[in-house]
């Protein structure tokens, strides 16, 4: 058994696909109709290539309530690792991304938090011994 998919709720799948590909730089892996929504996954070009992030619609009322509560309390929905957090943050800021936490050293990692424009805060972190 292995982890192959992780998912994140998004308030608008089209907007999410645009943000996660055009802004973050992930690559669209799958995109096909699924009931009233779409099954959309993206992968990071930096790998691992077979780990897909599902952009899951928050159509269920509990999903949007969950997203909203986390965001208001400043809790990131997930975290992505970077090997060069400062330049990555600058690259995203240049694209208009809103950061709620600037790169901050927190023990063994440096972390920053940004809004993915789809109802989530995302944490980016770089371990001290970056890969």
């Amino acid at each position: 058994m292995r982890i192959k998919l992780i998912s994140i709720f998004v308030d608008d799948q089209e907007k999410a696909l645009k943000f996660y590909t055009d802004v973050l730089g992930f690559r669209k892996e799958k995109d096909f109709p699924a009931g009233g929504a779409r099954w959309i996954t993206v992968v990071s070009p930096e790998g691992p290539g077979d780990l897909e992030l599902v952009l899951e619609p928050n159509g269920h009322p509990a999903a949007s309530a969950y997203q909203s509560a986390l965001m208001k309390d400043g809790i990131p929905a997930t975290a992505f690792e970077s090997s060069a957090i400062h330049s990555e943050v600058q690259r995203l800021k240049d694209k208009g991304v809103v950061f709620t936490m600037e790169p901050t050293v927190a023990g063994p990692v440096t972390l920053a938090i940004f809004s993915d424009t789809c109802g989530n805060l995302i944490q980016m972190y770089q371990p001290k011994s970056a890969p």
Partner: protein, 150 residues
Amino acid sequence: MKSPAWRNRRTFLRLCRARDLLSDLRSSNVSIAEAAREASLSSFHFIRRFEAAFGETPHQFRTRERLTAAQRLLARGRSVTDVCLDVGFSSLGSFSTLFARRVGISPAEYQRSLRRSVYVPDWTPHPPTCLLLMGGPDAIAIFEKTVRRR
């Protein structure tokens, strides 16, 4: 475009509060200016910062939220006219046009499409995730065929 300096999380929190206000159907008469006041920003800065944080203008956000709520209410069997008023539209024509633009079919057609299946859940239905994980598009086709057969 350079993003503004968002060193203070309080601004983001205020935007979240305004966003909640705009998504609350009970406060459908709230104007953008009132939502801006909730965020302690001028309307101009509110619209700019809201769009930067959430990827759409406050007006676009509210319209999308209303249409999502409309889908839920239609799934529960409420009439198109009632749904139109419930979610804060005053014109049935503009509601139907916006709904069709977003969903691809009119509100009435959407409701009919849900009635064709026996199981009408409380939210916009989509196939169980486990099916998608295992089988992709083929699994979805089988799922939808099974639901129609019930």
